[in-house]
C-alpha cells in the first residue's frame, strides 16, 4: 500500500503545484513551480506504468519547456508590485470550479486502473478480443519488437507517426518564420 500512499501524495503535490502556477504573481516563480508540476506528473506516470509517457513529460515538459519559458521571460520586465500572489478573478474561479465539480462527480463512474471489471476484461477476468489484446499478443511475432508502444508507433501506426514527425518539423519552421530569423544569430 506504500505505492498508493506515494501516488496520492504525488497527486496532492501536483494539484498544489498547478494552483501555485496559476496564482504566483512573479512569472519566474510560476515557471519554476510549473517545472515541479511536470516532474510530479512524470513520476506519477511511472506509477501508472507508462514509462514512455513519463520520459516524454520529464524531457519535454520539465526540461525543454522550462528552458524556453525562462529564455522568453528574460526579455520581459518584472511586475513592479511586491505582491506574492495574483489577484483572484472571482467569475473565472466560479466557472473553473463548476467545471471541476462536474468532472469530479463523473470521476467515480470511471473504471479503476487495472481492475478486472473494466470493459477490456471479459466475464471471469479473461481477456476479450480488443485492439489492445491484439497488440499484446501479436506485436512480437508481427514486428520483432519487444516494446509494444514503439511497435504501435513505428509499425502499426507508422503513417500517423509520419504525420506527427512532419508536424514537429513544421513547428520548428513556423517558429523561425514568426521570429523572422533564418539563421540563429
Amino acid at each position: 500500500m506504500i505505492e498508493t500512499a506515494v501516488a496520492y501524495t504525488l497527486a496532492i503535490f501536483i494539484l498544489l503545484a498547478a494552483v501555485a502556477t496559476a496564482l504566483f504573481r512573479d512569472v519566474l516563480s510560476a515557471i519554476v513551480v510549473f517545472g515541479a508540476y511536470s516532474l510530479g506528473m512524470a513520476i506519477l506516470y511511472t506509477f501508472l506504468l507508462a514509462p514512455d509517457v513519463a520520459m516524454t513529460e520529464a524531457a519535454i515538459g520539465a526540461g525543454v519547456t522550462t528552458i524556453l519559458l525562462l529564455l522568453t521571460i528574460a526579455r520581459t520586465t518584472r511586475p513592479s508590485t511586491d505582491r506574492l500572489f495574483e489577484r483572484i478573478n472571482v467569475p473565472a474561479v466560479i466557472v473553473v470550479g463548476a467545471f471541476v465539480l462536474v468532472l469530479g462527480t463523473l470521476l467515480p463512474d470511471m473504471y479503476a486502473v487495472g481492475t478486472e471489471s473494466a470493459p477490456i476484461w471479459g466475464e471471469q477476468g479473461v481477456l476479450t478480443e480488443t485492439p489492445s489484446l491484439y497488440y499484446i499478443e501479436n506485436t512480437f511475432s508481427d514486428t520483432g519488437a519487444q516494446n509494444a508502444v514503439s511497435a504501435v508507433l513505428a509499425s502499426y501506426r507508422g503513417f500517423d507517426t509520419f504525420g506527427e514527425a512532419v508536424v514537429v518539423f513544421a513547428a520548428a519552421i513556423a517558429v523561425l518564420l514568426v521570429l523572422k530569423r533564418e539563421v540563429f544569430t
Binding site: I67, A145, F169, T185
Partner: protein, 174 residues
C-alpha cells in the same frame, strides 16, 4: 568533448564553477542515454522521440553552461537544419522505398520479402533515422531561435547589433 573556445569571454552565460563542472560531468551520460533510448527504443521503454529530446537537451545544457553564442557557433545552424530536414527525408524515403517495392507506405514487410531484412529494421530506420533526428533538431532550433540575440542584450554588448539588425528585435529597449 571539445568545449567552445571563447567560453571565458563576455558572452558567457554562466561562470559558475558548479554549473560548468556538473555539466561537464553529466553531458556525456545524457548524450549516451539519449542515444541508447533512440537505438534501443523498440525493446525497452522509451523510444526515439524521448531519445531525440534528450540528445537535444544535452546541447541546451552545454549552451547554458558555456554560453549560448559559443555553443551556437560550435553546433552551426547548417548542422541543425541538416538534422531536421534529413530526418524528414529519411522518413519519407523509407516510406517511398516500401512503395517502390510494391507495398504500402511504410509497409516494412515489402523490404523483408525483397531483401530478407527483418520488419524490425524498417521500424528502426524511421525511429532512429527519422523521429530521433527530427526531434533533436527541433529542440535545438526552438532553443537557438528563442535565444537569438539573448546574450548581447543581456550584457549590453553592441558587437552583435549590426548582425541582428536584419530582423526586428523582440527584446526590451533598455
Amino acid at each position: 568533448m571539445s568545449q567552445p573556445d571563447s567560453y571565458t569571454n563576455s558572452d558567457t552565460y554562466s561562470e559558475s564553477q558548479v554549473i560548468l563542472t556538473s555539466v561537464r560531468i553529466i553531458a556525456p551520460f545524457t548524450l549516451t542515454y539519449g542515444m541508447f533510448l533512440s537505438l534501443h527504443g523498440a525493446d525497452t521503454p522509451g523510444g526515439s522521440f524521448q531519445g531525440g529530446a534528450i540528445i537535444g537537451v544535452t546541447v541546451l545544457m552545454l549552451a547554458f553552461a558555456f554560453g549560448i553564442d559559443p555553443t551556437r557557433k560550435w553546433v552551426k545552424s547548417s548542422f541543425i537544419a541538416g538534422l531536421i530536414t534529413g530526418g524528414v527525408t529519411i522518413f519519407i524515403a523509407t516510406g517511398l522505398f516500401t512503395m517502390a517495392l510494391g507495398g504500402n507506405f511504410l509497409e516494412y514487410d515489402a523490404i523483408a520479402d525483397t531483401f530478407g531484412i527483418a520488419h524490425y529494421w524498417g521500424m528502426e530506420a524511421i525511429e532512429v533515422g527519422g523521429v530521433a533526428l527530427i526531434v533533436a533538431g527541433a529542440v535545438m532550433t526552438l532553443f537557438f531561435a528563442t535565444a537569438a540575440g539573448f546574450t548581447p542584450e543581456r550584457h549590453g554588448n553592441d558587437t552583435d547589433s549590426a548582425r541582428s539588425g536584419s530582423g526586428p528585435e523582440v527584446g526590451r529597449d533598455d
